[in-house]
Symmetry: C2
Subunit: 642 residues, 2 copies
Amino acid sequence: MPIRVKFPDGSAKEFPDGSTALDVARSISKGLAKASIAAKVNGQVRDLSRPLPAECDLVLLKEGTPEALEVQRHSGSHVLAGAVRRLYGPDAKFGVGPPVDDGFFYDIEFPGKVSEDDLPGIEAEMRKIVQENVPFVREDLPKEVVVRRMRDMGQGYKLEILKDIPDATASIYTDGDFVDMCEGPHVPSTGRVGAFKLDRITGAYWRGNAANKMLTRIYGLMFHDDKELQAYVTRREEAKKRDHRKLGQELELFMFHDWSPGAPFFLPKGTVIYNELLSFIRAEYRKRGFQEVVTPQLFNKGLWELSGHWEHYRENMFLLKIDEEDFSLKPMNCPSHVLMFKHRRRSYRELPMRIADFCPLHRNELRGVLAGLTRVRKFQQDDAHIFCTVEQIEQEIRGQIDFVNHVYGRVFRMPFAARLATRPPQFLGEAETWDRAEAALEKALKDYGVTYSIDAGGGVFYGPKIDFDMRDALGRPWQLSTIQLDFQLPQRMDAKYEGPDGKYHHPVMIHRAILGSLERFIGVLTEHYGGEFPLWLSPVQAVVLPVTDKDEGYAKEVGAKLAAAGVRCEIDLSNDRISYKIRASQLQKVPYMLVVGAREREAGTVAVRDRKKGDLGPVRADDFLVNLRREIGLSENPAAEA
Amino acid sequence: MPIRVKFPDGSAKEFPDGSTALDVARSISKGLAKASIAAKVNGQVRDLSRPLPAECDLVLLKEGTPEALEVQRHSGSHVLAGAVRRLYGPDAKFGVGPPVDDGFFYDIEFPGKVSEDDLPGIEAEMRKIVQENVPFVREDLPKEVVVRRMRDMGQGYKLEILKDIPDATASIYTDGDFVDMCEGPHVPSTGRVGAFKLDRITGAYWRGNAANKMLTRIYGLMFHDDKELQAYVTRREEAKKRDHRKLGQELELFMFHDWSPGAPFFLPKGTVIYNELLSFIRAEYRKRGFQEVVTPQLFNKGLWELSGHWEHYRENMFLLKIDEEDFSLKPMNCPSHVLMFKHRRRSYRELPMRIADFCPLHRNELRGVLAGLTRVRKFQQDDAHIFCTVEQIEQEIRGQIDFVNHVYGRVFRMPFAARLATRPPQFLGEAETWDRAEAALEKALKDYGVTYSIDAGGGVFYGPKIDFDMRDALGRPWQLSTIQLDFQLPQRMDAKYEGPDGKYHHPVMIHRAILGSLERFIGVLTEHYGGEFPLWLSPVQAVVLPVTDKDEGYAKEVGAKLAAAGVRCEIDLSNDRISYKIRASQLQKVPYMLVVGAREREAGTVAVRDRKKGDLGPVRADDFLVNLRREIGLSENPAAEA
């Protein structure tokens, strides 16, 4: 019986029984056969050389595609293991060796000590194996045969894995002199792996359990070609330099202390950024019709039971007893805003009502996952809730998309794309309301011209949502803004307004945040700018550097003038040499350095250095001030535009 | 043996044995005898008619002095009880009847029901007793005699009180037909009580214990004369109208909810005031060299043990377990600021270091004492800590006194006086350091010309302090600002800086707050201004009132122009008549009402109404805006002066 193969373009063709994906590729073109790494058969990625089933959808995975790269990385780990087997002999015992985001690793028990110094030797042996270009051969065998072979090879970790495989068969892959029990799939031959480089060594407990033996984990990087590999290495180095934890310390932006895990202390310079961001968002709120409120942080269990958080979110809340009753530090603002909405009768004339709140929130993240500013237990959001009618949804969503676009498109220059997550299988409310709301959301995205994708079924049970992914200067994605519709909470908490019909209705609630958590956002921003914050956000905007102590009087005069005009300014009165002072300010990434020596003092000028462009030459001090104020107030600080 | 009497002016005179204070008064002048109410004998207030001891300091207490008034008020309660005894007969049982701040009360068990309607009758009977002007006669008797008389009179509550008196004797006072067991002292005769008025009735458990019987408490007001009584009543009515809890609701400034006792929700209008106060203080911080920080709220027990709060303050903290360890929500910022000071090496060049923090604080006040904004569990302070050297204390204190004077003397126009509290009997540190510091504090007060008193021994164990009492528009005192020296915490927590000598020293720490808790301050300010906040603090600065719906377009135009210029502006688009709209805005205490009708629309003007001065006539809309901006930005908002 011939095999019927369906292609991605919808066409179909028949092939003789026993044909492989490679046979199919060859039948189309020699080039395609040469470029293919593996095949997706009925949605499952498999070796090119495996016979196809009687009826299948087939996608040939060509070099350069993400799915092909994942297969290559997996094969890379086998090449690594093969090299180790050759160099360290049969006493090297192998654990697991999967692909990862930037390459692969293998967990290995070495017969002796091994260190980073050994990596070049192992890598050289790997290159030999690649050079040899031996095929990866798959065998599907009864489980007991595989058990026997692994036992003969002394591979105890493989035997442990086999115990957990419920199937009657297991597979073995052989590439040249290396044999491994493995599910696959793999590249056709060792020569077909991507460009690689061994990266580093760490310890890893067998099966991640500290009670087990510590194995040696060798990481390798692998990409499509050398250019991509090199680009990745460069990007990673740059990211390391920009790590907000490192910069946060160097620039004295924030600190942590063991006595308050997961709760950042913003030092004076970090607090300048914090407060400037708040001012910026507040200025937007004024323009966009938001009203700010200040709310309590401790709430009785009764509130959380009503809102549903007690049932669904309790393990993330910090709980305490007050006057013998259960209370929690609030993890989010929504229920308290509903209480404010409900505190008196509301009319449709008051809608849309946009309530904003910067109240600190607390969430009980596991101590182990806390990391710098990106995973914290205490944070403030630029949080707001919009109470509106169903008819107002589209207009409100458009307004919030415009807000996102203003903040990221214009001010922070981070390109973004949206994901519209629609009705999940488990949902509350009427399907018709959902359909209408999703259509409104999509229309708003389309009308505004935002790039978006649909995450079908990815909405929360209480309503559809739009998440925004921003790309930073290194091209890394960060999910920052979010807009969520909620049909449920106003009903659960019985929030109502009087409509023009004289009857009471539940409003729709829109949860939204533009920056998200300010803590996390400052972490992202620090890396996005590599610490070189734009002028309006810079903790110190200008520093005056007297050349000798004779120039200190004039330096103070210039500094006082700048400070009085609202510029954040420092004066370096240390005894260091001017070249050292410049270097120190440059390391602090101060936008403008104003060198003042005898010449400047006499002429009433400052010698301006820009942190990026270097020396800009002498300018009259008063002119510099006028220009600086204009630059802070008008060109870069959107908060001051109004 | 004659009695030797010493007078307040230092002179002394002898009188025959058995002389009373009244005899002494008469010997000086008839007028003095007539004006005296009671006497202070060796520091104790007693009846004028009691014989004096052999040797004594004597002060005659004349009508119109606070101590005389207290005696009059006490006698007033007896006059009340006597009137009740006449009207309700021997079945009226008497508890206690002390003087209070504005008069007196008596707790009485009535034979039947009694209500506010009965007060005029009781008061009329009291006036008769006063008219009769019968003397108060004191008898000092063996306790068993008093017990017998009270038992005969059926006065069970008096018997209970007698049980707790350890002395062998007790005293009885008789005024006409009324007999009461009482310690005294009293006025010479019923005609000598002050101007009075029965005030109100409440219930009161016998001895304040809910397990006991509920008695009826009748309150009376009593002052020196009718004028003072009337002034008090008027002031109290005004205070009631200004009650911030009432105004807070009427002006929609804030709300409370049972699910978060003691934690105010600031509604949008209250939040405007909140944020304007923060901006105002921040602007002062910039001028005065403070650096703001943002800090965690949850801290491990370890911190509180080190700071001493775990031992001395634990019952005021909200405690919770995190990862099996004890944590608390912070009740104050000081220890966390020391952690920030310590996070890296510090040099004397960095001192004085002024660290400001608006972090929310939580204190576990008893639920029963929570009251509006003045007694809360969650609040934010304009808190700051200054780390400095001993030599810098005087200059720093002077700077903070100047800050207090600017805020209260210039901006809020609340007169204030200072209290310098000095070394208590139990103190830590060197007496010499204390002496030096107290001298520096006093010198700063004196140099600045602040009115101050000395509270000898009133300092805290860790250092001397200055508290400031401000008077509001009704003349009521509020303790708002405080400046406290602290020699201890930096030592306990081992905070150090490197001195010019290359050695490490502990800095002095100054705890200070100008507004104090923002919550409480907003409560005080609301009452101080009676809700008529100055323009820069007003939640709505101007409201546009179209006369008919034809004027709505123009009203929106005017409103939009104001809003774009940064004015907080509303437009009343209701269908109400213009007179009603004006009344509503007046009740909301909006500084400017801009009426726009056909005439204004055609002329491009607005008819301006000032909330205090009324109609100001038509002004061109653009001119009004210019003037308003100037008034907001320059004349009243000191934050915008820079």
